[in-house]
Symmetry: C2
Subunit: 420 residues, 2 copies
């Protein structure tokens, strides 16, 4: 008998029928002989509606008050879920972030968890209760309410699982697992039985919206097994996320992802002298603009100038526009060119570490499709190429085909699956 932490996202608790369905999923896990701690997000569009309300009041809501407002969404879903579990004859108790002992930094809207005092959760488990915890929230000084920002509920679930030394953390949502590629684009994409933390992190960062990287990082750090699975297909085991040493690596490439959320910026004709690039990126950093890919072209012209190109998130464009003049002052560019017509395609695989030639195979494949590569970035287990947006599907099909991401040949799971 171990502890399983289950997390249910907003679509899984979107209405009362779905909450009853979640109650069944919780009890199913309990009947497997496990103690169950459940972390819930706010119902469906609750959080969006709360944000809308605050926007009607003011354009600059006080962060502390915003956290009070946002925290109510999870209080509603957790109390309803506890009622639904009670109604099925099991004892449940819901806990706010404060009651569950989730202590965070003394900051609002994107606080990090500092410590979890699990004594109350453990006591309720000993009393035979199913414990339902509000995701996305904690408390700081003076019992003030904090929220954890994007991916907050996943983070709550993993952090609780680690603090409770749970057997596993199951993330339930409306997706059935982690796929080799986006099934909406590659219809033959296959669900992976397992994936390593690092592969999941790279996929998450390049646009596979299954899990927030924060939660995967926390799981990796604590070697906590995670499972991504569907709340609507309870018999489906989904995808297990584990350490790379526990996996059988029989394929160099595990997944393909496509990210169309970025914009390419080209700063033309920067004088080629030391420190200019540093000045530029220091300015971007001081405005909290995250830069992804960077390329600096060699100075080959008579003017002895460089072009520097980089990508930023579309959502940061307003910030960028506000500092465009400052950039011009600093680096004296001839032109700042903005290209929104791009997409980043990436292949990810822990197996590529020891297998040379994967990058070359990717570039060859794109070239054979007459797709021009505008930028390249790589990590140990990921290769990303920036291409024209219109080629996104064509590139996806060609890459999934060449790296066997659409076939039946999947990475098989070594050994037994944990009981579910």
């Amino acid at each position: 008998m171990g502890i399983i932490v289950q997390k249910f996202g907003g679509t899984s608790v979107a209405d009362s029928d779905k909450i009853k369905n979640v109650a069944n999923a919780v009890i199913k896990e309990r009947l497997n002989g496990n103690d169950v701690v459940v972390v819930v997000s706010a119902m469906g569009h609750t959080t969006d509606n709360l944000v809308k309300l605050s926007n009607e009041i003011t354009k600059n809501p006080d962060p502390r008050e915003m956290d009070v407002l946002l925290s109510t969404g999870e209080l509603i879903s957790m109390s309803l879920l506890a009622m639904a579990i009670d109604d099925l004859g099991y004892k449940a108790v819901s806990l706010t972030g404060l009651q569950a002992g989730i202590k965070t930094e003394n900051c609002h809207l994107h606080a990090r968890i500092l410590d979890i005092d699990t004594s109350r959760v453990k006591r309720h488990l000993l009393e035979g209760k199913i414990v339902v915890v509000a995701g996305f929230q904690g408390f700081c000084e003076e019992s003030d309410i904090t929220t954890l920002g994007r991916g907050g509920s996943d983070t709550t679930a993993v952090a609780l699982a680690c603090a409770l030394n749970a057997d596993r953390c199951d993330i339930y949502s409306d997706v059935e697992g982690v796929y080799t590629a986006d099934p909406r684009i590659i219809h033959t994409a296959k669900k992976l039985k397992e994936i390593s933390y690092d592969e999941m992190l790279e996929l998450a960062r390049v646009g596979a919206n299954v899990l927030h990287p924060r939660s995967v990082e926390a799981a990796k750090l604590n070697n906590m097994k995670m499972r991504v699975r569907s709340s609507f297909k309870l018999d489906d085991l989904g995808t297990l996320i584990i350490g790379v040493d526990e996996m059988e690596l029989n394929k160099p490439v595990t997944g393909f992802a496509c990210d169309s959320s970025q914009v390419r910026i080209v700063i033309c004709d920067i004088e080629d002298k030391p420190g200019n690039a540093a000045k530029l990126f220091n300015l971007l950093a001081s405005e909290e603009l995250s830069v992804d890919m960077i390329i600096q072209s060699y100075a080959r012209n008579s003017k002895n100038t460089n072009d520097i190109a980089f990508t930023i998130s579309k959502s940061d464009m307003a910030k960028f526009e506000s500092i465009k003049n400052k950039i011009n002052e600093i680096v004296n560019a001839s032109n700042i060119y903005i290209d929104e017509d791009i997409v980043k395609v990436s292949i990810v695989g822990a197996g590529m570490i020891d297998r040379p030639g994967i990058a070359a195979k990717m570039f060859d494949t794109l070239a054979s499709q007459n797709i021009n590569i505008k930028m390249i970035s790589t990590s140990e287990i990921k290769i990303s190429c920036l291409i024209e947006k219109k080629y996104a599907t064509q590139a996806a099909c060609a890459l999934c085909s060449i790296f066997n991401l659409d076939g039946a040949e999947m990475a098989d799971v070594k050994g037994d699956l944990p009981p579910v």
Copy 2:
């Protein structure tokens, strides 16, 4: 410079525009030179919607979870109001029941306030902040959330005002004050400038839905001045509720009220022996059925039996039906007769204590209208008559006229009004 506690009900914070209006009312009071503590209810129909959600989940929601659910309504309105005040350039901080130190009994759905630790509220006031407190809620053991039941937010406001030794507690809603009679029935009914706690209590109990008796009782006990006023007419001082010794009593009758929420039950032919009535009312009490008026007729028939008639709330009829058979077993009645076709008309006035003949004048007036009186109950400052429902308006007009409740001759206020 004193402390004013303001309470705004659900209709006053029903949408974002109304919340901005409340922010203005708060700042208006602040500009009078007072420290301001604001207690808010949930927005409009929020609480109803939450109850509906819980009904979709289960018919028997766990009380502890219900309190978690219901408490969210006030968290939403208080955070939005704090944002709105901030937006107008004043510093505000919102506090949950827990953060405001409102400790209650260790029970749910209708907890009573045991104690208020005002240290945090006072500190924020010293910091120059406007403090916004969630109405209707407190905390018990282990920081668990409790709610105060009906009239909860009014109770929070008065209890806070007493604990803070405030100058006054202003209850804002969509009514402009306390009227001599219901203006929807008596169009010439007049708003009272002042009324005593006891009169307000009697009026509240007989159906003038302005204030919950709990809050008036608490105010009376602590001699806390209250003001009932409109959140939509900020220049209107509404009605001041004060001790009878502070009032000028120039009228025997201050108000008229009409209550159509009751049902008359007649238990026929109960054997006239000691203890039968006690058995009956003990049974009713054990089922938590509140009985209002009671009449026992004398045994004058050959069977040596009595009739006992009493009134209960319509909302308790389901409970009553469930124990009807038990009643028959206990008192062996020939018939249990239920009369829904009734209404209770009452006149209230602290001035009637020393003036005999008020009751006779009331009965005469009804008789002159050919209205039969089915039951009578009295207190020191109230006389109530149960009559047929169809005569409600006719009785109201006649009584308001005879007791000058519709004229211009109002109780004048002695001395100056407190600054508003």
